[in-house]
């Protein structure tokens, strides 16, 4: 900042001169571990919990973990698109809350099943609003979604008038949240289907390719004919859709809508995505990693639970694990 200091020129040359060096088996193992840090951690925690507690490996426990975290996992899979595109979505919690209220309100005033369908669509619409604000007004997504989350939050309050909206449990409204096919909850199937679509979208479609290109080098993407703004709006639309769907599952589960629902889901989803090794600088990432990130966080919570450990340390442990995982992948970048 001070003095006529460094220019980009020498940094550029340094990068051009960069050589790839690989050495020995230890390096290969280390390379795998840093590349797949989240998976290694997941396996370690999973194995440890299996040893430490006989309750952990019971099918019902596993199914419960999957089911309870399905809404967060849905938000994280779609949120991965936003982060890969180089953006941030801080409004997922607020959209979650709106979906919560919209689903219940429509269920009470019109039709329960229509509520379950309408809320995710409203979520997608709010995501599009995010995207349009970001691209039209050229506002950084961090700021734009921080602002819209306040706006959406107050809409949620407005819809409910500040009260709970309770839906009758006999109407079929709870099918999404409580329904089961055999021993498996429908929410788990919804998550599996949604995640599969996200994986295909990211890896097999032009849209996915463009998201990576926009996050990796926006100027290069633009000069290659990519409609950068449209891609960004698309990523935020997906994130909004997912937040809406997650909020819908949640309200279908408890059959009453709270305007303050989902306040934690925004940061949890971002934490899981980052834990999965998706770069906050954009341009790289994977859906499955975010899923592993979500369930790594879930295992930690579940582990504290079944081991009867002091819950005081849950967030502390989670924080340490995030720092460790991100530091591991940062060491890879700077090498």
């Amino acid at each position: 900042m001070s003095a006529p200091s460094d220019t980009s020129g020498d940094a550029q040359e340094a990068v051009i001169a960069r050589k790839t060096s690989r050495g020995g088996r230890a390096a290969t193992v280390l390379d795998f571990a840093t590349r797949n840090g989240v998976l290694v951690l997941f396996v370690v925690v999973f194995a440890w919990l299996s040893f430490a507690s006989s309750a952990f490996l019971k099918p019902q426990n596993i199914i419960n973990i999957l089911n309870q975290n399905a809404p967060l996992a849905i938000v994280a899979t779609a949120g991965t698109f936003v982060i890969i595109s180089g953006g941030f979505d801080l409004s997922t919690g607020a959209i979650f809350a709106i979906a919560n209220c919209v689903a219940a309100w429509v269920a009470v005033t019109i039709d329960p099943l229509l509520g379950l369908v309408a809320a995710p669509i409203v979520g997608a619409g709010l995501g599009i609003v995010n995207g349009l604000i970001i691209t039209r007004f050229r506002i950084h997504s961090f700021l734009a979604t921080l602002a819209t989350s306040l706006m959406y939050q107050s809409f949620a309050l407005f819809i409910t008038g500040g009260f709970l909206i309770t839906v009758s449990e006999t109407t079929g409204f709870t099918v999404l949240g409580r329904g089961q096919v055999g021993p498996i909850y429908i929410a788990i199937f919804v998550l599996a289907a949604f995640a599969a679509v996200m994986v295909v979208l990211l890896n097999r479609t032009t849209f996915g390719r463009y998201v990576v290109a926009v996050g990796g080098n926006e100027e290069a993407a633009l000069l290659s004919g990519v409609r950068v703004n449209r891609i960004k709006v698309g990523a935020f639309a997906l994130s909004g859709l997912a937040a809406g769907l997650a909020g819908t599952i949640e309200v279908s589960r408890i059959a009453s809508a709270v305007p303050t629902a989902g306040s934690e889901i925004t940061l949890q989803a971002i934490a899981a995505i980052i834990l999965g090794g998706t770069s906050i600088y954009g341009g790289a990432g994977a859906i499955w990693r975010s899923l592993v990130g979500v369930y790594l966080l879930a295992l930690i919570g579940n582990g504290f639970n079944i081991l009867n450990a002091n819950p005081f340390f849950i967030d502390l442990t989670t924080g340490i694990i995030i720092v460790a995982a991100v530091a591991l992948s940062a060491s890879r970048r700077t090498r």
């Binding site: 003095a3 006529p4 790839t20 849209f207 390719r209 993407a221 000069l223 290659s224």
Partner: protein, 503 residues
């Protein structure tokens, strides 16, 4: 003056395969204004940046104020009293003039700002003979005044040697005169100024001694009074390069279909009035100095930047609402000048980069057929002999030359009719250059139109069928490279009469 302020001995610097400085020996005397001139890429700026610690030298010695230099960085250079005023100024627009001047050297009292900045500032202001308002926000100043702030900043750090890289490129004639007075005052004060510029008349007026550089070497250093614009241009002219250019058939341009016609294009501030034509099968060069608006012309034609005047016609149809996407759909590709910053997506593989503009053609309904994509990329890698021939290789592990081939492959994948090439061989080694020249000639032989911008005039001369000269945002002439010489082009680009005789 017994001991020179700066003494370079045997100094060398490489960028990848490019030899930027080659055994440079130079003394700069205290209290003198020392000019550095040369063509684009002759090594003037590199020398200035090594002196001020921005670049590190590869080998050689240099001594400043009698101290041999070992560890050297902008900070250490500044501690030794050496400051640089760069082409892109490095000031903070949100701070006031005084705050910028004292940035990093604020007077403190018990950790708080002492608040004497304005008084200190007025002292400097008076010494330099400026009339800057200390409390004005820097961002509100005109460019020339910002430059004065940079000069004050150097003075505030008690700089004894100030390197100015193209200080006048954004100044009006009056402002240039004023800057020269300031420089004379600095020299009279015992300070040394190194003045790097393309404007030879200004160099001759402002400097005591002038060093002419060519291809990273010093041609000669002489008193300014012994030089003329003609003698400088003659000295900076290169020998023919060791690279041979591909033999090309006589252009069929006159009969061939008109591909691109650009008429009075304007894209302010850099492009003012540019007109040219490209026919199918023709290579057209845009020759100009750095900052003449060459690259900006390319970008405005491609639709990467907005234009605010003029007409572009592609295949005899007006092409008005230009965008990269529309250009792509018409069959126009562009390889931008900054490969890493504007061309490649470093987080993607070779395949992802190469198929980016053409991916729609492998993706019915938006679903990418990866087998088809891989085959197409593999074919391009083979045709362009990219090393390594692996479609999923990490793009950042490739050499500069191979990355550039990937950039070509990107656009060849769309089946282009016209390619806009901005510095297609920047920073790549001689062997790769030769391959890229052959590729460009080959593409033209197949009927593509090529528009070429390069800082290396030899390249423009060796490849082009037609050359348009661009000076300060305007086309100032059209030349046939077969009927002209490098000297003549250079004379005209430096704004000298083209018929001037080379001594």
């Amino acid at each position: 003056m017994a001991e020179p302020t700066v003494r370079f001995r045997d100094l060398s610097k490489h960028f990848g395969a490019t030899r930027a400085l080659d055994n440079v020996e130079l003394d700069i005397e205290q209290g003198s204004v020392h000019g550095l001139v040369g063509q684009n890429g002759a090594g003037k700026s590199t020398l200035g940046k090594i002196l001020t610690g921005i670049y590190e030298r590869d080998s050689g010695d240099f001594v400043v104020f009698g101290h041999p230099v070992r560890r050297w960085s902008p900070r250490v250079a500044l501690e030794h009293g050496i400051a640089m005023i760069q082409q892109e100024l490095s000031l903070v627009p949100e701070l006031t003039v005084a705050q910028n001047v004292f940035l990093g050297i604020e007077e403190q009292r018990l950790g708080l700002l002492a608040g004497r900045d304005v008084a200190r500032f007025e002292e400097l202001n008076a010494r330099a003979g400026f009339r800057l308002e200390p409390r004005q926000r820097l961002g509100d100043l005109r460019f020339a005044d910002r430059q004065k702030v940079e000069i004050l900043r150097a003075l505030a750090r008690n700089a004894q040697l100030i390197v100015m890289d193209e200080p006048t490129s954004a100044l009006t004639v009056d402002e240039v005169d004023h800057l020269h007075q300031i420089i004379a005052r600095l020299a009279a004060d015992g300070r040394t100024v190194v003045y790097i510029s393309h404007f030879l008349d200004q160099v001759l007026r402002a400097c005591d001694r002038v060093t002419t550089m060519r291809d990273g070497q010093i041609v000669r250093t002489a008193p300014a009074s012994d030089e003329s614009e003609q003698s400088l241009v003659t000295a900076m002219l290169g020998r023919p390069m060791e690279i041979t250019f591909p033999d090309r058939a006589e252009p069929r341009a006159s009969q061939a279909e008109m591909l691109l016609r650009v008429d009075h294009l304007r894209a302010r501030p850099t492009v003012l009035d540019v007109s040219f034509e490209v026919h199918a099968g023709e290579i057209v060069g845009l020759a100009g100095l750095v900052g003449s608006g060459r690259s900006e012309t390319l970008r405005a034609v491609f639709g990467a930047d907005p234009a605010d005047g003029g007409v572009v016609e592609f295949e005899a149809t007006r092409y008005d609402r230009r965008s990269p996407l529309r250009s792509l759909q018409l069959g126009i590709g562009m390889i931008p000048e900054d490969r890493r910053g504007q061309g490649l997506v470093s987080t993607m593989s070779v395949r992802g980069n190469m198929s980016l503009p053409s991916i729609q053609s492998f993706a019915p309904w938006g679903l990418v057929n990866r087998e088809k994509e891989k085959q197409a990329v593999a074919r391009l890698l083979r045709d362009l002999s990219v090393v390594p021939q692996r479609v999923d290789e990490d793009i950042s592990t490739l050499s500069g030359g191979n990355q550039q081939k990937v950039m070509f492959g990107k656009w060849l994948g769309i089946g282009p009719k016209l390619l806009l090439l901005d510095e297609p061989t920047r920073g790549i080694d001689v062997g790769a250059k030769r391959q890229i020249y052959a590729m460009i000639a080959d593409l033209a032989a197949k009927g593509l139109g090529v528009l070429l911008v390069s800082s290396e005039l030899e390249e423009v001369m060796g490849l082009s069928d037609q050359i348009y000269l661009i000076h300060a945002g305007r086309t100032i002439g059209k030349l046939n490279p077969r009927e002209t010489t490098l000297d003549q082009i250079l004379f005209r680009l430096f704004g000298l009469p083209s018929d001037a005789q080379v001594a």
